[in-house]
Amino acid sequence: MTAPARYPLRTRILHWLTAILVFSMLLIGFAMVNSIGSYASLRAVHMTLGIVILVIVVLRAANRLTHRVPKLPDTVGWVEHKLVVGSELALYTLLLAQPLVGWAMVSATGKPVDVFGSLHLPRIAPFSADLYFILRQTHSLLAYALVVIIAAHVSAVLLHTLTLRDGMLSRMAFARKG
C-alpha cells in the first residue's frame, strides 16, 4: 500500500481548525492576564475555547490512528525525519496537556469550572493553593512551549515549501495543485 499524497480531508479540516483556535487561544491567554477591563470576558472565552480545543485534540489523536500519513518529501533527511516525528508527538502532548492543566488549575482554586456561559464542568483537581500554583506556572510554561514549537513547525514548512519547493505544505493544504 502506498502512502497517500496528502492527508484525508477530515484530518486537514481538524488541523486548520486547531491551528486557528490555538493561535487565538495563545493570544487571548497572553492578553487576558494583562487586561483589566476585558479580563472577565476574555477568561470566559478562554475557558470555553480551551474545552473546545481539548475535544478537538482528542478527536484528532483518535483520527490520527485511522489513516496512514502521506509520505514526507525526499528532502527530509533521517535527522529531520526524527525531528518531524518528535515535534508531532510534542505538539499532540502539549495540545492535550494545556487544556487539562488549565482545567485542573481552575479546579484547584475551588472555583466552579464554567464554560459555554453556564455549563458546569466537574472539578478535576482538589482545592489546594499549592497545587494551583504549580499548575498555574505549568500553564504559562506550556503556553510558551507551544509558541516556540508552533513557530518552528510553521517555519520548517515554509522553508520546505518555498525554498526547497518540495510541496511540503500541499500535504495539509486544500488547493488542487500538489
Partner: protein, 386 residues
C-alpha cells in the same frame, strides 16, 4: 523499558547531531542543491516568508503580552507594583486586605429572595458559607484602626459549582468608580515613613482629579464606622442583576445588616478589632440579615460611588450565621480568592468596570501569594486572651 528506549534514542540523536552535524549538513545541502535546484530566489523567498511569519507571530505574542506597544494602560502588574510601592512586600499574604481572620457558618434562606433570583441559595433552606474578615491595606501586621475599611469575603456553597463569592465592605458607597481612580488613590495614600501619614498634598491633588471619589468620601463621612466587625453592615456596593424564574432582570445591591452589638475593642492593642471579634464569637454565633435592595431603572448601575435613594424597596432574604472563627491556615478561607465574579445561575454582573478589574487583580494577587513562602498571620485565634 519504554523510558529506557526513549532515553537511548534521545542520546543517539544528540550524539549523532553533535558528532557529525556539520559534515552531514554540508553533504545534505550539496545533495539538496542538485535535487531541488535551490535557486537564490527560492532561498530568499523561504527566508523572507519565515521572517514575515515570525515577525507577525512573535510580534502578536509580544503585543498580547504587552512587551511592545502602548504601556499607558493599567495592567494587573501595575496594581501589584502599586501595592508593593505603598505597603512593601509581604510574601504569602493578599496584596490588599492582607490582615484577616477566617470564619465559617451558614445562611438560612427564607425563600423571599426567589422573587428576584432563581439562584439555589435563595430557596428556603440552609447553605454552608465560609468567609474572612479583613482590614483594607496591604500590611498583614498593621495595627487595627476604626477608620480603616473593614472587608468581609464570603463564599456560599464552597466549593460547589453553584458557588456565590463576594467581597463586601463596611462602607455605604465605594470610594472609586474606576480602576484608574483606585490606583491613583492607592498611590496618593502612601504613608511617609517619617510621619506615618499620607501626604496631604497628594491626597488633595487626588480629590481634585477625582471629584467622584471626593463626593463618595463625603458620603462615607456621614456614616462613621461602628464599634467593631460584629456590628458593621457589609455591602456589595457594586450593582448586580438578579434573574428570577420568569427571566426578569432586576438591578440589586445587597447588604448584610448586623443583628447584634459589637464587643468594644480593648484600647492599646494591635489587634483590638480582631481580638474583640474572636472574644465575641467564643461566646456564641453572630448573625446578619441579608437585605436585597431593588434598584429602579434610573438608579446608577455601573458606578459604585453613587448611592441609591434610601427609599428603595428591600427584600429580606434570610439570616447569615457565623458559628466559628479560626486562624488563617492552608485549606481554609486563606486560600480562597473572593472574586466577585464567581456567581451562581440567577445572578449576573453589571457593567461596573470595577468588577473585571477586581477579578483580574485578585487573580494576580492569588497567583503571587500561592507561590510564596507563608508566615503566620497576625491574628492567631488561639492566642487571644479571654
Amino acid at each position: 523499558m519504554f523510558c529506557d528506549h526513549i532515553c537511548r534514542g534521545f542520546l543517539r540523536c544528540v550524539a549523532s547531531v553533535t558528532w557529525c552535524t556539520w559534515l552531514k549538513q554540508l553533504a545534505l545541502r550539496c545533495v539538496l542543491t542538485v535535487v531541488t535546484n535551490l535557486s537564490r530566489r527560492s532561498v530568499l523567498l523561504g527566508i523572507g516568508a519565515v521572517g514575515a511569519f515570525l515577525a507577525i507571530d512573535l510580534g502578536a505574542v509580544a503585543y498580547a503580552n504587552k512587551w511592545i506597544g502602548s504601556t499607558a494602560t493599567l495592567t494587573r502588574q501595575t496594581f501589584m507594583d502599586g501595592f508593593r510601592t505603598v505597603f512593601g512586600l509581604h510574601p504569602g499574604f493578599r496584596r490588599n486586605h492582607a490582615k484577616g481572620v477566617v470564619v465559617n457558618g451558614y445562611f438560612d434562606s427564607n425563600g423571599s429572595g426567589r422573587e428576584l433570583s432563581k439562584a439555589a441559595v435563595f430557596t428556603p433552606g440552609r447553605t454552608p458559607v465560609i468567609g474572612r474578615f479583613s482590614l483594607s491595606g496591604g500590611n498583614p501586621k498593621m495595627a487595627d484602626a476604626p477608620a480603616v475599611a473593614r472587608g468581609f469575603g464570603l463564599a456560599f456553597t464552597f466549593p460547589d459549582a453553584t458557588q456565590w463569592r463576594m467581597a463586601l465592605l463596611n462602607l455605604p458607597v465605594f470610594v472609586d468608580h474606576s480602576p484608574q481612580g483606585f490606583y491613583d488613590r492607592l498611590l496618593a495614600s502612601k504613608r511617609d515613613p517619617a510621619t506615618g501619614k499620607a501626604d496631604p498634598a497628594a491626597m488633595s491633588a487626588f480629590e481634585k482629579a477625582h471629584p467622584e471619589s471626593a463626593a463618595a468620601m463625603a458620603v462615607i463621612k456621614q456614616h462613621p464606622p461602628t464599634t467593631g466587625f460584629a456590628d458593621s453592615t457589609y455591602s456589595s456596593l457594586i450593582t448586580f442583576f438578579f434573574i428570577n424564574d420568569a427571566g426578569v432582570r432586576t438591578p440589586v445591591r445587597w447588604a448584610f445588616v448586623p443583628m447584634q452589638a459589637a464587643l468594644p475593642p480593648l484600647p492599646g492593642t494591635t489587634n483590638s478589632l480582631f481580638d474583640a471579634l474572636v472574644r465575641q464569637m467564643r461566646g456564641g454565633s453572630l448573625r446578619w440579615r441579608l437585605l436585597l435592595t431593588v434598584g429602579q431603572p434610573q438608579d446608577p448601575m455601573s458606578d459604585a460611588t453613587l448611592p441609591w435613594p434610601s427609599d428603595r424597596r428591600t427584600v429580606d432574604a434570610g439570616v447569615l450565621t457565623l458559628t466559628n472563627i479560626e486562624t488563617e491556615a492552608p485549606g481554609n478561607a486563606r486560600d480562597v480568592n473572593f472574586d466577585p465574579l464567581v456567581l451562581p445561575d440567577g445572578i449576573e454582573p453589571s457593567d461596573d468596570p470595577l468588577l473585571s478589574a477586581r477579578s483580574a487583580v485578585y487573580a494576580a494577587s492569588y497567583r503571587a501569594r500561592t507561590g510564596e513562602l507563608k508566615s503566620p498571620s497576625a491574628v492567631q485565634v488561639d492566642e487571644v486572651a479571654p
